[in-house]
């Protein structure tokens, strides 16, 4: 289904030449996009919250239907928690530096630290799974282990996405790119903090229920 006809092509050309000049409009765009991108991330956070809420309710239902046992959480999880909390802190620092317009270099350092901490967290989670496997506790061993592997894996997956974006942003910063995507950065900060909060919640859930 093509959408182009002669008239629209010509108008495109015209429009293009116009947009180059109308700088006021671009400014307007800038303000707008700051707003929209921010509400976008909050909608996303809401969606992720909902899915994990669904998993939680599933967990509660499943707890009520027999063969629910107990799962000894690997100790490494607490270390991982500290790592993730720390990463949130370092990312805050980075955000602070950027907003205070001190050259992007300093900020980029903190971003790097953050994403390294994030990676460390993921590795730590992997370690936790290895510990469980060593005890002969696998995904299908019992409902508790099923939920543990599932929740931790999905959360780690989300963290990895965050890390990927940070890598991209760090690259931008180091290259001190003329158009550093500030909006994207701020969204990532929100997302990252949300991941930390989500993890603390999941940890508590696992402690109390699994």
């Amino acid at each position: 289904m093509s959408s182009t006809t002669l008239s629209s092509i010509s108008s495109q050309a015209g429009a293009l030449s116009k947009t180059r000049h109308v700088t006021a409009q671009n400014v307007l765009m800038a303000q707008r996009s700051e707003r929209y991108s921010s509400s976008g991330i909050w909608v996303g956070v809401f969606a992720i919250t909902m899915s994990f809420a669904a998993f939680t309710s599933a967990l509660f239902v499943r707890e009520g239907t027999g063969d629910w046992t107990h799962l000894a959480l690997p100790q490494v999880l607490y270390l991982n928690t500290l790592l993730l909390l720390a990463s949130s802190g370092t990312l805050e620092i980075a955000r602070h530096r950027l907003s205070k317009e001190e050259g992007t270099r300093k900020a980029s350092g903190w971003v790097l630290v953050t994403l390294l901490l994030g990676l460390a967290f993921c590795v730590g989670q992997y370690r936790a799974w290895l510990d469980l496997r060593a005890q002969g506790v696998f995904l299908a061993t019992n409902p508790n282990s099923s939920f543990f592997y599932l929740l931790t894996f999905l959360h780690a997956l989300h963290v990895c996405i965050g890390v990927a974006v940070l890598v991209y942003l760090a690259g931008r910063l180091l290259a001190s790119h003329t158009t550093f995507r500030l909006g994207l950065f701020r969204n990532t900060v929100v997302y990252w903090h949300f991941m930390t909060v989500l993890w603390v919640y999941l940890l508590l859930l696992c402690r109390m229920k699994l």
């Binding site: 289904m1 006809t5 429009a15 109308v22 991108s37 909608v43 969606a47 899915s51 239907t65 500030l182």
Partner: protein, 593 residues
């Protein structure tokens, strides 16, 4: 693509090259058309599946050689096997609910017109937008694969109740790999829909043009906005449900499968799962899904009715609030699908009341439409015919809800044809009428050419009368206890009613055939239709203030400024009996309240 900073990501340059323009396009208009095309393919597939089911049901010995060629196990000697009937049923339901009723009124039209109606250049996140379509497309491909694998499509129905859907091979043909493809496809579909919904919400909240207050948004945009809020919640729950299902099927977990099941003489290696869990998660999505399908059509129909009435609705606000409360209530009623599933009988009553309560906003909506028709100057054309037909359908399908909302009556009517008739009319046909209306109304804007009116009217009459002939008897047969999802009626007591089934089948064949008129009209008018002016319907909303079809950035360089409520009809305007939203001329507000 271009290295514009995010601050200007959606001010993308005109796309270059075929791929960028039409395949992996960031343009919400192209993406909208892609969704529409996908829905079109899905709806015709689904329709043909329903034909096969109806034919087999009334002529069980009918030999369909082409079907044997298509699936040797499914139709040996051209005769549909019981399991293949269920495969057709499952695929029909899945295609229609997910890839037609969710895609066409919401994703397709929403993508195309939401940004334009609120005066934006594009969606908030064009890349997400492109991703959401291609994810949905991938979901469709995965689902279609079930037709070609040796195992065949799943046989668990579109609701895929556990444990039937969760135990795998032993549950029967199609349940080894077909059902896995189903689960995977739905999971992928959820991701696509979540991305889409996120985009819709962000766009509506933040990309509205100057002066476009929320209350000045056209009702269609409102419907898409509310729907995207529902979808965000619904699919965020269905996705986990599908993940658990896939794990049960392939990772040996026991979320849905209890202990001690013996299927095909094999003791299933599971323990402790809860089949009710699937039903709860599924219907928590499933009931709002009904409104995901119907709300956009309500908005589209209101949008079109106002235009063809040449006078504002009695109260656009009331319509908006009704749609909101429907969306809100839709999350408190999922249990009415499970009255007989073994929930606490008390909860049945708890679910019954909000379900009955939904009839209030639904009635208000209907009265708003009817009341607004009073004293109007209704212009009859294909679009308005389908819009009026929508009202009739919505009422007919709605009143049967009275019965099913009551647990006591559900004891008798649950899982009968009454239910099938109910949801086909109110969720299926009604929202498709909205899509048809929208197509006849917006086609000129989308393609720059008018659709053929006489073909459109012919299409309407056949479809309108035809659908009543098909689905009214469903209710009657339900009343005498005709059970659904049966591939043939071995029970003696059904014999006297087979005549009605034949009648329904023939009606279905004719009505279905008449949809090819519509298809032809689409294709013919796309290339040979007479060129469309900028505003063929003398409409007021922003999409009619730009060329047909719109340029790649919708409004060119100028950013529209909105001065009025969306529906300034029946006023003294410079162009006639209407004033467009972006025209600065002063009018006495003619809104109904």
């Amino acid at each position: 693509m271009q290295e514009g900073s995010l601050e200007q990501a959606h001010v993308h340059a005109p796309p270059q090259g075929f791929i960028r323009k039409y395949i992996f396009s960031l343009d919400h208009k192209v993406i909208g058309k892609q969704y529409y095309a996908l829905a079109l393919v899905a709806v015709f597939t689904g329709m043909i599946l329903s034909w096969l089911m109806r034919i087999h049901m009334v002529w069980p010995e009918a030999k369909l050689p082409f079907l044997e060629w298509f699936s040797k196990n499914g139709a040996p000697g051209g005769i549909i096997t019981p399991e293949y009937y269920l495969s057709l049923l499952t695929m029909h339901g899945t295609l229609m609910v997910f890839f037609v009723l969710t895609n066409a009124p919401f994703a397709a039209f929403g993508n195309y017109f939401l940004p334009i109606q609120i005066g934006a250049e594009d969606m908030a996140f064009p890349r997400f937008n492109m991703m959401s379509f291609w994810t949905t497309f991938l979901a469709w491909v995965v689902l279609m694969l079930a037709f070609v694998i040796p195992d065949g499509p799943p046989i668990a129905g579109w609701t895929a109740y556990a444990p039937l859907s969760a135990v795998g091979r032993d549950a029967g043909p199609g349940m080894q790999w077909g059902a896995s493809l189903w689960g995977l496809s739905i999971a992928i579909f959820c991701v696509g829909s979540l991305l889409g919904a996120l985009n819709f919400i962000a766009t509506t909240l933040d990309l509205r043009a100057k002066g476009m207050t929320l209350m000045r948004m056209p009702l269609s945009s409102w419907a898409w906005f509310i729907t995207s809020c529902i979808a965000l919640l619904a699919f965020a729950v269905l996705l986990p449900a599908c993940i658990l299902l896939i794990l049960d099927r392939h990772a040996g977990t026991s979320f849905y499968i209890p202990a001690g099941l013996v299927i095909s003489d094999r003791l299933q290696p599971h323990s402790g799962g809860s089949p009710l869990l699937w039903q709860h998660l599924f219907w928590f999505f499933g009931h709002p899904e009904v409104y995901i399908a119907i709300l956009p059509s309500m908005g589209i129909v209101s949008h079109i009715l106002v235009n063809s009435m040449r006078k504002p609705l009695l109260s656009a606000r009331v319509v908006i609030y009704s749609m909101m409360s429907i969306g809100f209530l839709s999350y408190m009623v999922w249990g009415h699908h499970m009255f007989l599933s073994g929930m606490n009988p008390m909860s049945a009553l708890a679910f019954s009341f909000p379900t009955l309560t939904i009839t209030i906003p639904a009635t208000v909506l209907t009265l708003m439409w009817l009341g607004s028709l009073y004293g109007a100057k209704i212009q009859i054309n294909s679009a308005s015919l389908f819009a009026l037909g929508f009202i009739s359908m919505f009422v007919s399908g709605g009143v049967s809800g009275f019965f099913l909302a009551q647990p006591s009556i559900d004891i008798y009517l649950h899982a009968t044809y009454f239910v099938v008739g109910h949801f086909h009319m109110v969720m299926g046909v009604a929202s498709l009428f909205g899509v048809f209306a929208g197509t006849y109304f917006w086609f000129p804007k989308m393609t720059g050419r008018m659709m053929n009116e006489s073909l459109g009217k012919l299409h309407f009459w056949l479809t309108f009368v035809g659908t009543y002939c098909i689905f009214m008897p469903f209710h009657y047969l339900g009343l005498i206890g005709n059970v659904r999802r049966y591939q043939s009626f071995v029970d003696d007591f059904m014999a006297p009613y087979l005549g009605w089934h034949k009648f329904m089948t023939i009606a279905a064949l004719i009505t279905g055939a008449s949809q090819f008129i519509f298809l032809f009209n689409l294709i013919y008018s796309r290339f040979k239709g007479k060129p469309a002016p900028e505003n063929p319907w003398n409409a007021t909303s922003l999409e009619w203030s730009i060329p047909s079809p719109p340029p790649w950035n919708n409004f060119g360089a100028k950013h529209p400024i909105v001065y009025h409520d969306p529906y300034q009809y029946g006023v003294k305007g410079s162009k006639g009996d209407f004033v467009m939203q972006d025209s600065p001329e002063q009018v006495v507000s003619a809104s109904g309240d």
